[in-house]
């Protein structure tokens, strides 16, 4: 949950990258860390990994500078995607002000995308939040693999599977090349800050 320090006019909020295992959540954060150096305020920390699987979470602090007279700081997290790390995933999700759902475009990941979105829905519900009301953006990652001849889900199919009811902003992406990473994060930040402005009434 966002922290608003009235005295220092500082807001700290939390964005969580959610999605199926091996879908590219960490790769998104790595790209942000590498590319948006001006905004990055600390190191990308991975706690902990096994091979290149996230076991606990990745963490990257960024700063957005002054917005409406407030210094806005953002903590970016990824969750472990593998089904067996459900309790860690839920802990990391706690207090999220905005969520980026990174779906995997590979055909074989269709079921895992759907199950992961359902898992997000269930976990948010347990925290008393609605998936329909939390600032949420979808990213359809690994689109570059289509050019290499790998079987990908059509964007329209992914929209139908994941976004038919949610109707949230969605972006095609290739986190490994950085495509769509900035747009996805930017939109999620916009939605999150709009929501926080309403909740914390800080704009005035």
């Amino acid at each position: 949950m966002a922290v608003f320090n009235i005295q220092t006019r500082e807001i700290e909020c939390k964005i969580v990258f959610y999605g199926p295992g091996r879908g590219g959540k960490t790769t998104n954060l790595e790209y942000v860390h590498k590319t948006f150096r001006k905004n990055v305020t600390g190191e990308l920390v991975s706690i902990d990994t096994q091979g290149d699987r996230t076991l606990f979470f990745d963490f990257l602090p960024i700063g957005l500078g002054k917005i409406n007279g407030c210094d806005v700081k953002v903590q970016l997290f990824t969750v472990p995607g593998q089904p067996q790390y459900g309790s860690t995933r839920k802990l990391v999700l706690k207090g999220a002000d905005g969520i980026v759902f990174v779906a995997d475009s590979l055909n074989v990941q269709r079921k895992n995308n759907i199950l992961s979105l359902q898992d997000l829905h269930d976990n948010l519900k347990d925290y008393g939040k609605s998936i329909f009301k939390v600032p949420l953006v979808l990213q359809y990652n690994k689109r570059d693999l289509g050019d290499q001849g790998f079987p990908l889900l059509e964007i329209s199919q992914m929209e139908k599977d994941l976004n038919r009811q949610l109707k949230v902003p969605s972006f095609a992406g290739s986190a490994i090349n950085g495509d769509g990473v900035g747009d996805t994060l930017k939109r999620c930040l916009e939605l999150t800050l709009q929501n926080l402005q309403k909740e914390l009434n800080w704009a005035g």
Partner: protein, 325 residues
């Protein structure tokens, strides 16, 4: 020639999934590849290829077993532990002792049981925290597979008047029943998963919004009368493999009422239409909804050709879903 092309394509996919750490998928593809190779009789080095694929399969099976057995309970370095404590502890600026206690609990939540025990020990002497500290320490020992030590400690705490006889009995009872649901037995489950805000009957049930209708479907189902969620499409695998080549054929759902679905099948799929007779039991069906995928069986209720409109000539098939699992 087509088989050769298929072999290349499956091999490429298998290698991709393997490189991306998607081992289940890689395994499935390598097994498919093995079957294809077996069919490719004219291949000169077939036996050699089969052997190589089998080695790949064994390697992937090993990796899978490793990843499935491993749990995030391993020790991590102290700077990362400090970060975990900082990021995931609900702190109360006015009460440093409460904050330290919460930090120790946070470590346990992230599987850092030994450190949690060390940080928790001083709280055994603290009147306000002693029982919760005792519970957490005992729980950590149990999670570390040291049940006997946990039981000995509980006895010792009672002798040292850290916990009362009554508290000792309830702790021993919780542990003696085995390790399952130990958090619940110790009332520690709320430590891990505390709802941030309780939604009271609730802002989600605003009947004027689309959300509430959808949420009603997916989150408020009555267990006594299970509702079927909204289905986008259906995969049908026919026993008669000629029609589907053994693969499920997917159809969009045009209308749904409870567990009755209407599918539109193009008139071009004549053999499929012919094989889907009224009353036919479909034992291997897959249902895709925006929030879940589930397998079930179904029965063909009716079949008719659409007489008018843009879908004229196509077929409408009504299916009843049976026993969703």
């Amino acid at each position: 020639m087509a088989l050769k092309k298929k072999i290349y394509s499956v091999n490429k996919e298998a290698a991709l999934y393997n490189s991306q750490g998607m081992y289940e998928e890689a395994l499935e593809k390598y097994r498919e590849l093995l079957e294809l190779i077996k069919k490719y009789k004219v291949l000169k080095n077939r036996e050699d290829l089969e052997r190589k694929i089998l080695i790949k399969i064994k390697g992937i099976q090993k990796k899978l077993a490793f990843y499935k057995s491993e749990r995030p309970g391993k020790e991590i370095d102290s700077s990362k532990k400090d970060l975990i404590k900082k990021l995931f502890t609900d702190s109360n600026e006015k009460d440093p002792e409460y904050n330290d206690f919460q930090k120790a609990l946070t470590l346990a939540k992230f599987g850092q049981f030994e450190d949690s025990i060390i940080d928790m020990l001083p709280f055994l002497k603290h009147k306000a925290f002693r029982l919760e500290a005792a519970k957490n320490i005992a729980r950590c020992y149990i999670k570390l597979g040291k049940k006997d030590e946990a039981l000995k400690l509980i006895e010792k705490w009672a002798l040292d008047f850290i916990i009362s006889e009554k508290e000792k009995t309830s702790l021993l009872l919780a542990f003696s029943e085995g390790n399952s649901n130990i958090d619940q037995k110790l009332n520690l489950d709320n430590e891990d998963i505390v709802p941030e805000e309780v939604v009271e009957n609730d802002n989600l049930s605003d009947s004027s919004s689309d959300d509430s209708y959808i949420l009603g479907d997916i989150s408020e189902s009555d267990p006594d009368s299970p509702e079927i969620m909204e289905i986008n499409s259906v995969g049908i695998k026919l026993a008669d493999k000629e029609n589907s080549g053994g693969e499920p054929v997917e159809f969009d759902v045009s209308f749904q009422a409870g567990n009755h679905l209407s599918l539109i099948i193009s008139s071009r799929e004549k053999s499929m239409i012919d094989s889907l007779d009224v009353g036919l039991k479909l034992n291997d069906m897959c249902f895709y909804s925006p929030i879940a995928v589930f397998k079930s069986s179904g029965i063909v209720l009716s079949k008719h050709q659409i007489p008018n409109g843009p879908k004229k000539g196509d077929w409408c098939l009504d299916i009843e879903i049976k026993n969703p699992t």
